[in-house]
């Protein structure tokens, strides 16, 4: 069993497997990767890198998407 690390996702603390990637996190959260943007410690990730970027203790992840909005 892999050890657990603490990360921050959309401003909230949560535990996550120490060897998890951003892609793993999105799957765990059941967030579809299409039409989301992910920022890892203020760096915007390319969608094709989600499965290659591993998470570290204290990482700050922001997951954003489109919502209703206007003018």
């Amino acid at each position: 069993m892999a050890e657990t690390i603490q990360i921050q996702v959309n401003g909230e603390q949560r535990g996550c497997r120490a060897d998890a990637t951003v892609g793993d996190l999105l799957r765990e959260l059941t967030v579809k990767t299409e039409r989301v943007a992910v920022e890892l410690n203020l760096e915007i990730l390319d969608r094709k890198d989600f499965d290659h970027r591993s998470l570290k203790q204290g990482d700050r992840v922001e997951i954003l998407s489109f919502i209703g909005g206007g003018v």
């Binding site: 959309n10 959260l29 997951i63 909005g69 003018v71």
Partner: protein, 257 residues
């Protein structure tokens, strides 16, 4: 009017009415109102995904990106850094380089910070974005935005969501005459006649959200706006008669007893 297409940065748009997707009761209503409006460009905001309640539906499940051009905005950004960050996030989440750039200067009026707008636009244009700037009804700022590479200028009619209509038709008219790129009147219209007026002045399109979403019957208002924009465009192309102080009889005098 069949070939009267709006072209921006090489992209062709069928509708001269563009609509926002905020403030609707639910996604079903959003979808119906957008369909009734005939718009083929819809604006969206970029926000955090709700990771605690994944049962919530996504707006884009209701809007087919093949049918609509999804135009993300930087609404809610009050400085250059935030606006640029949101624009980059929008591009990462989306499929295109289009961004409706807003750099707001004040929470009460939501008036644009035009100095910040120009600065943010320069950065984003350098990064390959197609910047559609929400700006004030200031012809000089409009020209500066064109000079730095904006393919369109989007001056406000009145404060966002105010429904005050076209407050400064003379400035808008000057912008339309001075500026050689399409002008989209963005924000402030309240009802159909405001939209028609904007088009009669020579606007190339009108963008609105609250006037439709906030109406008592948003779907009916969306349809009203479709016809208003169409009628205003036709009237502009037709060329109105000059205003005169006194009457000119329409019926001939000849043949009278």
């Amino acid at each position: 009017m069949a070939n009267d297409r709006l072209i921006i940065a090489g992209r062709e748009f069928k509708s001269r009415l563009w609509v926002g997707t905020g403030k609707y009761k639910d996604f079903a209503e959003t979808k119906k109102a957008i369909e009734a409006s005939g718009a083929d460009v819809v604006t969206v905001a970029v926000r955090r995904v709700n990771i605690t309640d994944r049962s919530k539906e996504n707006l884009l499940d209701y809007l087919d990106p093949k049918k609509y051009t999804i135009l993300p905005n930087t609404a809610g950004c009050y400085n250059v850094e935030d606006a640029v960050r949101y624009a980059r996030l929008a591009r990462a989440a989306g499929v295109s380089d289009l961004i409706k750039l807003e750099v707001l200067g004040d929470e009460r009026t939501l008036f644009p910070d035009t100095a910040g707008l120009i600065e943010a636009a320069k950065i984003l244009i350098k990064e390959g974005f197609i910047v559609l700037p929400y700006t004030n009804d200031d012809p000089i700022v409009a020209q500066k935005l064109v000079d730095i590479g904006c393919p369109v200028v989007m001056p406000l009619a009145a404060p966002i969501g105010s429904g005050l209509g076209i407050r400064n038709p003379y400035n808008l008219k000057i912008i339309m005459e001075m500026i050689k790129v399409p002008i989209i009147v963005d924000a402030g219209v309240g009802t159909a006649s405001d939209a028609a007026f904007a088009m009669e002045l020579g606007a190339d399109a009108v963008l609105m959200n609250t006037a439709i979403a906030g109406a008592q019957d948003p779907i009916a208002m969306a349809e009203a706006m479709k016809y208003a924009v169409y009628a205003g465009r036709l009237a502009y192309k037709a060329g109105r008669i000059p205003r005169k102080l006194y009457a000119t009889a329409s019926s001939p005098i000849e043949g009278m007893l």
